[in-house]
């Protein structure tokens, strides 16, 4: 039992934090978020190359650093703290995991190293464009893809798309297809979360080869489910980082801002609200760390840990970022203050991989609550 950073992990955390503080200022984030790409390619190269974060949770064989999901969580938490706009979560936290879990050795060898270096940006297209969480892309027996995938983070800059589709039999199939394949169109949207744009990806008779198929049937369904759980855990770390950032921002502001002759941070109503935020922040961090450990330890509690971390951290970040706006008063809901950027990230995060309600319903099943007496 050593539920605290190892020396390596401490070093990693410090170096990512240092990087994010230097390169993730509010001014630079705001500049980048106004661009069409939505990320800074020089920064991307630095994150993936110099920092080596692209392969953090990958085996060495695929260009990875073997820091595991705790390492990934550390990276995500620090990036979440500054809302670093980049396809990191999409490419490394989602798509690469799908390939690792769902692909053959040959496919991993072929695809993962360039994702790890950042040369190839990948994205996971797994759900339709509506409110639900089901794939809405079909792969017919002639290996043609048709349909729509929605809410793909940084889909518009993806080189490679990992797509969850259904065969005519209804079976899940995971495929990897280059974004520039004829018949693929990608539409970038103006997105609520300004720092992580979403895209809709449309497939119109996209012709695949057998090699593009990562896997089918139960294996693919399991790989997809596990990929989403791993993504939830990585996202939980980001949410915990974001929640901590808005708390720190709010503490600093309320120590400074004077009303009624006192710093407003000395008013008990505000202090207690921030105290409650701190409880949520620390528990969110715990939840993210714990779930990441569970992955690295190969525990069979992974699904449970993912559902716990996702439901807790998602709501904690939404709650804390909402409180941050409230406690900043008038300035808190202006465009020029960063509070809304976190608030919107929190909302988008909470909707990306299924809501807290559905995660808790999963937990209810796991702990033996019967649905029908």
């Amino acid at each position: 039992m050593q539920f605290t950073f190892s020396e390596d992990e401490t070093l990693l955390q410090q170096s990512v934090a240092g990087f994010c503080t230097t390169h993730g200022s509010s001014a630079s984030t705001r500049k980048v978020m106004e661009t069409e790409a939505g990320y800074d390619s020089a920064l991307w190269r630095a994150v993936m190359g110099e920092m080596g974060l692209g392969g953090i949770a990958l085996p060495a064989r695929h260009g990875g650093a073997e820091m595991g999901h705790v390492g990934l969580a550390i990276a995500m938490m620090e990036m979440g703290r500054v809302l670093l706009p980049s396809p990191y979560f999409s490419s490394v936290g989602m798509a690469a995991q799908a390939i690792l879990l769902g692909g053959t050795d040959a496919q991993r060898d072929a695809l993962l190293p360039s994702i790890a270096t950042g040369e190839c940006i990948a994205a996971l297209a797994w759900r339709g464009a509506g409110r639900g969480h089901e794939p809405d892309v079909r792969l017919d027996d002639a290996l043609r893809l048709n349909g729509v995938a929605g809410f793909v983070p940084f889909g518009h800059v993806a080189d490679l798309l990992v797509v969850a589709a259904r065969r005519e039999s209804g079976e899940i199939v995971l495929v990897a297809v280059r974004a520039n394949t004829p018949g693929v169109t990608i539409e970038r949207h103006v997105s609520l979360d300004l720092t992580r744009p979403l895209a809709t990806v449309r497939f119109a008779g996209v012709v695949l080869s057998q090699d593009d198929i990562l896997g089918s049937g139960e294996d693919a369904a399991a790989a997809l489910a596990r990929t989403l759980d791993l993504a939830r855990i990585a996202l939980a770390a980001e949410q915990a980082g974001g929640a901590e950032a808005v708390l720190d921002m709010t503490v600093a502001y309320t120590k400074d801002r004077v009303q009624f002759g006192r710093p407003i941070g000395s008013f008990q109503a505000l202090k207690h609200r921030m105290a409650d935020m701190m409880v949520e922040v620390e528990t969110a961090k715990t939840g993210a760390y714990y779930a990441a450990c569970i992955v690295d330890e190969g525990s069979d509690e992974l699904e449970e840990a993912a559902a716990i971390a996702a439901s807790y951290c998602g709501e904690a970040f939404m709650g804390c970022s909402g409180n941050a706006i409230q406690l900043h008063g008038g300035i808190g809901f202006t465009w020029e203050h960063d509070a809304h950027l976190y608030f919107k990230r929190a909302r988008a995060d909470a909707m990306l991989l299924g809501d807290a309600y559905s995660q808790r319903e999963r937990i209810a099943g796991m702990i033996g609550l019967e649905k029908v007496a």
Binding site: Q259, G261, G329, G330, G332
Partner: protein, 394 residues
């Protein structure tokens, strides 16, 4: 006690509804059911004039000042029908509900003659100038200054300073400004309530973009702005009393109109939930039912206060409206977003502009802040409603 209306009141309701429907099916069809507060401004100015011409602009004002001296029940009915008809948010509301009543209560005869008719007719719109960057919750901490000076047009107030959250100032002709007119005074003392024309070189506006992407509010900078010496309401130095009288007007019957807007929003949420299947989610069902119950209760809370008339406005329940509706509406925004689901994360076009339901989500974050934060509301409730001791000042 009863919740219903008399036959005469129901007849009045029909009259209101008919007039509104005539207008909004006819000449003003283009602004019916308009959600934005900033779109279609020329049409909305015309609408203010039409209200004035029809005698519907300020029915609660006394007849001698051009109103109808309408009873509270009639004002309730008008507000409800106005919103039910999908009439647009009133750009004249600061004049009608704040400036006008203040002038009626505190103004000189000359001021009433000068300003009230143009408010009623929709010819002159008003903005308010209270808050400052350092006088948000702590309104008495005002730093904008004015001094009397002889100028080319006689004795004038010359104003220096900055106001914030001056809604609609870009469209208005006049602004009322609470400012410090006694050098060295502090807190609520030494303030005056001035009426200032906006179209002059000494006034500069800077729109404040909100997290919704819209810029509904402004910062207003006064840099040697001028107004005639006579344009002070009440005695110089007694502006706080005037302003506080005005703030209590702000808490009045207007909350009933907003409730009809809320009702329309809730209807849209229900329709969306039925359409996309969210209505089958038991938690969503509970939350929508809670919202519906909360809205009904909001209406009857307001009717309860209004039924007591002006004399008893300080009964306990009269303090709860602002925090109640701000909090209710914020929760409605969260519910709206949860009903829409992930599609609410995507704008409808190339601008940062979302569908109506996600927009409620963003917009309502400000409603527990502006017009007195929930924290300030709770202080007021605790101290004035419950008589609890004041917080020591630092």
């Amino acid at each position: 006690m009863r919740t219903g209306f008399t036959p005469e009141q129901e007849a009045f309701r029909r009259e209101v509804a008919e007039w509104l429907d005539d207008q909004l099916s006819g000449p003003f069809a283009s602004i019916r059911n308009l959600a934005s507060m900033s779109a279609m401004m020329p049409e909305r100015r015309e609408w203010e004039r039409a209200l004035g011409k029809g005698g519907w602009s300020a029915i609660g004002w006394p007849e001698e000042h051009g109103g109808r001296g309408a009873s509270i029940a009639e004002q309730v009915i008008f507000a409800e029908e106005y919103a039910r008809a999908g009439a647009p948010g009133r750009i004249g509301h600061i004049g009608v509900t704040l400036a006008g009543p203040t002038l009626i209560h505190f103004g000189t005869e000359e001021q009433k003659r000068r300003f009230l008719p143009a408010i009623l007719s929709g010819e002159e719109l008003w903005a308010q100038g209270y808050s400052e960057p350092n006088a948000g919750s702590d309104l008495a901490n005002i730093r904008t200054k004015a001094r009397l000076e002889d100028g080319p047009n006689g004795l004038e107030w010359v104003i220096e300073g900055q106001k914030i959250w001056t809604s609609l100032a870009q469209y208005a002709e006049w602004i009322f400004v609470l400012c410090r007119t006694e050098e060295g005074s502090q807190g609520p003392k030494g303030l005056s309530f001035l009426l200032v024309p906006l179209d002059q070189p000494g006034v500069t506006l800077r729109p404040i973009r909100q997290m919704t992407g819209d810029a509904e509010f402004n910062e207003t900078f006064f840099d040697g702005a001028r107004t005639a010496a006579a344009n002070v309401v009440g005695q110089p130095g007694e502006g706080w009393k005037v302003a506080m009288g005005l703030l209590s007007h702000e808490r009045g019957a207007s909350s009933l109109a907003i409730q009809m807007t809320f009702r329309n929003e809730l209807q849209k949420i229900i329709a969306a939930a039925n359409a996309n299947g969210a209505a089958r989610d038991p938690l969503i069902r509970q939350r929508i039912a809670t919202a519906h119950a909360g809205l009904k209760l909001m209406r009857f809370n307001a009717l309860r206060t209004l039924s007591k008339g002006d004399n008893e406005m300080l009964s306990r329940e009269s303090f709860i409206h602002k925090i109640y509706w701000g909090t209710w509406h914020k929760k409605l925004g969260e519910l709206a977003m949860d009903v829409v689901g992930a599609p609410g994360l995507i704008a409808e076009g190339d601008a940062y502009a979302f569908g109506e339901l996600p927009q409620i989500y963003l917009y309502t974050r400000s409603e527990t802040i502006h017009g007195g934060t929930n924290q300030i509301q709770r202080n007021i409730i605790a101290e004035r409603g419950l008589g609890l001791p004041r917080e020591p000042r630092g």
